[in-house]
């Protein structure tokens, strides 16, 4: 262990030191922004990293940690985040936090009955303080003093006049040129001046104008008062709502507990469509995996036979569907299956004088989808099976042949049990993936053809995940992310249960093979 050269040691500590320096710098930047949570996370991460590198006891962890980090970042965190969103009302109109909404409402203004506008000169002194002189339409002039606007007589000797007779400075303040005004717009925009009971704000690069504040937040009532109409809006279910039900937009995010889950489980339409969609989802996943596995295995078996000529060329050609981006293949197939113009129907028409209403008839649309997905997945199964087949030792086959086993017997009693052990977990993975294969469904049929009389937008080829999408993003006012997250969690539970059962099943298989 201590055989490491001086150079390696130096490099190691140098890198750690550099990293720590960056962390300190980043932490200070975050502190200034008031992002304390990130500072804490960063601190913990940095300490952990130092411990890993500097402590001998932590040596094995160095190799495990990257994997753990990715596990947390890619799996644990998204699941946690989805769960937390599923407990909120996050949706169109309820995106911002309550504090953001209050800040926005308190920044809203309305025009007084007799609004006034002012042209202005802005001035700055050596300390960088900004002051403005405003001129009303009728010639009255005001100067800012702190937050207040006070009438001012500009004829006094304090006010230095430049060419054209305009005021160019006073008391150490000098007037800003137009580019300087542009440079100072943020500060000017931040000015909230008071003139009597009205507010005066910058309204454009050349003007100030009078305004009245529209809303005021009353913390002890948890309500917003509309100062124009004197109506009080109380915080109710994620928006400020008046006693007669008027809501102020935007609303804000709140935790709603398990309401999204209850909405899903008690929605009358969802309950009636669920069984049909779930049934098709299982059929779709099962048939896709079933057919693609047997097609893939069959081809692999053929290509594994040393007597087949040109195996390399066949293998390369058969992998083509896998090499093409799936979404392009899906769109191409959707075009080929077009009932009026697609090539498939034209061939059928030439040969049999008939047309199949692919993608329009529920059964044919399902058949077409499974066909397309088998086309897209069999190369994967073929590659996996090829690998597995090549790991089966030749001696077993020779021994079987000596014992007089037929080819059929050799396949079922030697190849399959040995293949099954390594391929079965992949089939489960493939099943779970197909279960949630939104892309293919969406690109080929988008869940259609529609089902007449369905209570929710659930088409004949919608699988759970595409149905979820339509429920969450084609309902109400668009993005119902809280609801969508709740359904995702429910689907996650369903898949976890199915996978759990499947893994049980394969563990039993493994035991069998160990016995063999």
């Amino acid at each position: 262990m201590n055989g490491g050269s001086l150079l390696a040691q130096g490099l190691k500590y140098g890198l750690v030191a550099l990293l720590d320096a960056v962390v300190v710098w980043a932490a200070m930047a975050l502190l200034l922004r008031g992002d304390y949570l990130m500072v804490a996370l960063l601190g913990v991460a940095a300490l952990l990293l130092n411990f890993l590198v500097l402590s001998r006891r932590a040596y094995p962890l160095r190799f495990l940690l990257p994997g753990l980090v990715f596990l947390v970042a890619m799996v644990v965190y998204p699941i946690g985040y989805t769960i937390s969103v599923s407990l909120t009302n996050l949706q169109t109109g309820n995106l911002l936090t309550k504090a953001q909404v209050i800040a926005q409402l308190e920044g809203r203004y309305y025009l007084p009955p007799a609004p006034e506008t002012f042209t202005f000169w802005a001035f700055r002194n050596a300390q960088g303080d900004l002051r403005v002189i405003l001129t009303a339409r009728d010639g009255r002039t005001f100067i800012s003093r702190g937050n207040e606007l006070v009438p001012v007589d500009l004829s006094g000797p304090r006010y230095v006049r430049g060419a054209g007779g305009t005021v160019t400075g006073f008391d150490g303040y000098t007037r800003l040129t137009l580019p300087e005004i542009y440079q100072s717009l943020r500060a000017l925009e931040g000015l909230d001046l008071v003139l009597g009971d009205e507010h005066v704000r910058l309204t454009s690069v050349r003007e100030f104008g009078t305004y009245l504040r529209k809303y005021s937040y009353v913390p002890d009532q948890d309500a917003v008062v509309d100062l124009e109409t004197n109506v009080t809006y109380y915080a109710r279910e994620g928006s400020f709502t008046s006693p007669d039900g008027m809501r102020i937009e935007p609303g804000f995010q709140i935790y709603v507990g398990f309401r999204n889950y209850l909405d899903v489980l008690t929605h009358p339409g969802i309950r009636s469509d669920f069984a049909r969609v779930f049934g098709w989802t299982v059929v779709w996943s099962f048939l896709t995996v079933f057919f693609s596995f047997w097609v893939g295995l069959g081809l692999a078996y053929l290509l594994n036979d040393p007597y087949v000529r040109g195996r390399f060329a066949y293998r390369s050609l058969l992998i083509v569907p896998y090499a093409m981006p799936a979404f392009i293949s899906a769109l191409v197939w959707a075009g080929l299956f077009n009932a009026d113009l697609g090539v498939i129907n034209r061939i059928l028409g030439e040969l049999f004088g008939t047309k199949v209403r692919w993608l329009q008839d529920p059964m044919w649309a399902r058949a077409a989808l499974i066909f397309i997905n088998v086309w897209l997945t069999y190369p994967y199964m073929m590659i996996v099976s090829l690998g597995a087949l090549q790991s089966v030792s030749r001696e077993m086959y020779e021994a079987a042949r000596v014992d007089g086993a037929t080819g059929w017997q050799r396949f079922w009693t030697i190849t399959m049990p040995l293949l099954w052990v390594s391929v079965a977990p992949l089939l489960i993975g493939s099943f779970a993936f197909t279960f949630n294969n939104f892309t293919i469904i969406w690109l080929v049929t988008a869940g259609r053809p529609a089902v007449l009389g369905a209570a929710t937008p659930a088409g004949a080829t919608d699988i759970l995940i595409s149905w979820t999408y339509r429920l969450a993003f084609e309902g109400d006012r668009g993005n119902q992310l809280g609801l969508a997250s709740a359904v995702s969690i429910l689907i996650f539970i369903i898949i976890a249960a199915i996978s759990g059962v499947n893994f049980r099943f394969t563990r039993a298989l493994e035991d069998v093979s160990r016995g063999v």
Binding site: L96, Y182, N338, R470, E474
Partner: protein
Amino acid sequence: MRKLLWVAVAMVGLAAFAQAPKLVIWADDTRAPVLRDLAVTFKAQTGVAIEVMEIAFDQLRGQFITAAPTGQGPDILVGAHDWVGELAANGLLEPVNFGPKLAEFSAVAVQAFSYGGKNYGVPQGTENIAIIYNKKLVPQPPRTWDELLVLARQITDPTKPMYALVFQNGPDPYHWFPMLSACGGYVFGTNRDGSLNPCDVGLASAGAIHGAKLFADMIAEGLLPAGVGWDTMRALFFGGNAAMVISGPWLVADTKAAGIDYGIAPIPAITCPNGALGTPRPFIGVQGFMVNSFSKNKVLAFDFLLNYIATTDTMLALYNRNPRPPAHLPTFALVASDPDIAAFGTQGAFGIPMPNIPEMASVWGAWADAQSLIANGQATPEEALKEAVAKIKAALKCK
């Protein structure tokens, strides 16, 4: 060590509090180059830098919704008017005060960007669909739907294939709407104050059903191919297999490139149940500039929009990159002689701004389902549209 720490704090502090304003604009590839050129002028005149970020058009809205509340969004977003409802309902947009500049903009375009009685965008270009026809196949496009049917019966031949009319319908309510609106179909009714009433859905009104029947009959008779998407429509039109398509200005550049001798004409008028001719009314889409409510440079942003964007120079440059009828009237006057712009404008004069209220999200799916049920002959137009309206109202919790 302590000294070093202070130096570091001071440096970070300086970076954080440096207040030189900078405008950040998110725009797609058709507008970003023009804005970058304009940024040079703006910097020279005001000393303020503009950073233009080019983002794909269909990514803009989603990324804006994610970024804006965290303060990472742009000051100005260039997008479509039908985003306004969702963005404004989420509290992400700042209302525009046009001042005297208002008179320079098409009233319909300004209205398209308004939500809840406030204007949320400076409109730039408008777009709507019309008939684009192949002059070789149909020298004089039909003016009424009855004439169209006569033509279709003459030249339709599915074996070649050859069709008189093709449009995206697989399903695609946007391109279907002119047929439904000709005799009075509509999506949302209007309240007395001009705002849209999401509980008044007019997709199963008598006029809409009349248009849908026409659609169903044409498919049943084999005169209109069903299940057509964007690629199929293009392939048929560019291959000379379709005499006419219903599409928008976005098809024109490729039509020229495909060497088609094309013309643009209004969508044929439909004879309504009462015997009158109804003009199809397509949706109008408007694109324009919106200001982020979380921007710290709002005055600057509006100054830029009203004094630098809303000029004939800029509007003309934007038009030249992507020819759509400009919403800025002085610029429109300059390009109105272009025959394509004039022809799309003739149709657009009857257009209806696509509803921008977020409730529209509930409409598209159910409406498209109805169209596919009708096209497949699984339901009569009346059944399908009535069910769609019931679904939309249920999704919107209307009584």
